[in-house]
Symmetry: C2
Subunit: 215 residues, 2 copies
Amino acid sequence: MPADEPTGLRERKRLATRQAIQRAVLRLALERGLEHVTIEDVSREADISPRTFFNYFVSKEAAIAGDAPDFLDDEQLAVFVEGGPSGDLMGDLGDLMADAADHASESRETVMLRRDLHSRYPQLFALRMAGMRAFEDDLAGVISKRLLHDRPEYAREPEKLASRARLVTMVAFGALRHAWTCWAETDRSSEEALSTRLRDSFLQVRELLMQSSPA
Amino acid sequence: MPADEPTGLRERKRLATRQAIQRAVLRLALERGLEHVTIEDVSREADISPRTFFNYFVSKEAAIAGDAPDFLDDEQLAVFVEGGPSGDLMGDLGDLMADAADHASESRETVMLRRDLHSRYPQLFALRMAGMRAFEDDLAGVISKRLLHDRPEYAREPEKLASRARLVTMVAFGALRHAWTCWAETDRSSEEALSTRLRDSFLQVRELLMQSSPA
DNA sequence: AAAAATAATTGCAGACTATGCAACAATTGG
DNA sequence: CCAATTGTTGCATAGTCTGCAATTATTTTT
């Protein structure tokens, strides 16, 4: 279906403006410090009017936080829901997240700028996480289907299923945060991909509780 | 004559004002909706000047989010660090959090108002979580000591220990979020304590990965 | 108990954030 | 090329937040 990219001029311009704003605010914040950047500065840098800024983001913080990752194609999602690829829940979730990170629609520059900014202002990272509620809800839906596939008896207890799906989602977000935090700390010259870190963190979660019960 | 009241008048007044502001903003936000409450309204309700509001909280959101839970007494912490009380990491963390919830310094009224507000505005809950970074760092420190006690060989790999401690912390925060979310959804008339939910969520995390590996 | 030191409250000025509205400009589809 | 749709902008206005200096309240010292 998505063969080429026949998006209209309008849509392309909108995307370009959105990215220009994000680059602008990230660059300026890194350059002169978060508190010394105003919407007016950002707008000048991105070549738009201050009013237009608010057509794209509700606040400076939202522009810095950026968008939640895109979800994957339906096919990959279907594989996950039906117990694949490996059958291990945490491992498969790690794969899912890693692939999402690799196919991010954001430019590499934006991702790197944001990583540096998060290192300097850890609150921003927490804020980015806070902005991912919708993504989290989507994820919970997918996980719910997967759990139902793994243990069909959940069909008789829909509330328990929902609760469990949320628990898995929140634990997965813990792994996500861990991966991002580790990645943000790696040497700037290191070429280690975020996706590698993601897979690793999810596998560590898997190990974690196996080890935790003492003799 | 001097009943041991270690806190001076000044400190008590400050605490009272802080709590008055929180009650005011929560009540007003529940009553007329978040977006129809201004700092001026809150200040009037709490009997302070708008300027004073900002001596206590940096923003309206911060007042709503409230403070991170207090940590427990050193003795209880020492037990945890040395492998107690049960020896199971997640279970012990659940106990720790549950006790912290039971001994919260906040008034029951404030806790309930916040719960209701979070039900109506889930973003606020995410924001509250985002504001707990310092608490999270403290927790990571405690967990690091516990891990070192459980597996002294970590002493040879301090970086691995730190990374693992952070992972456990973030997974624990997932459990925390789950417990709070479930608790906020329970019937208002239910007397189920948050601490019960906390213990339950942590134990579920423990079970989770045991079950997750298929045949 | 008064005086000095310390800390909290307040008003005010000023910069910045954010939204509604209406005019204008650009893109799209016929 | 025209008409509909969508995006941009300026303006007005309400609200957020900070620095500063004056005032008031508590604590400490003598």
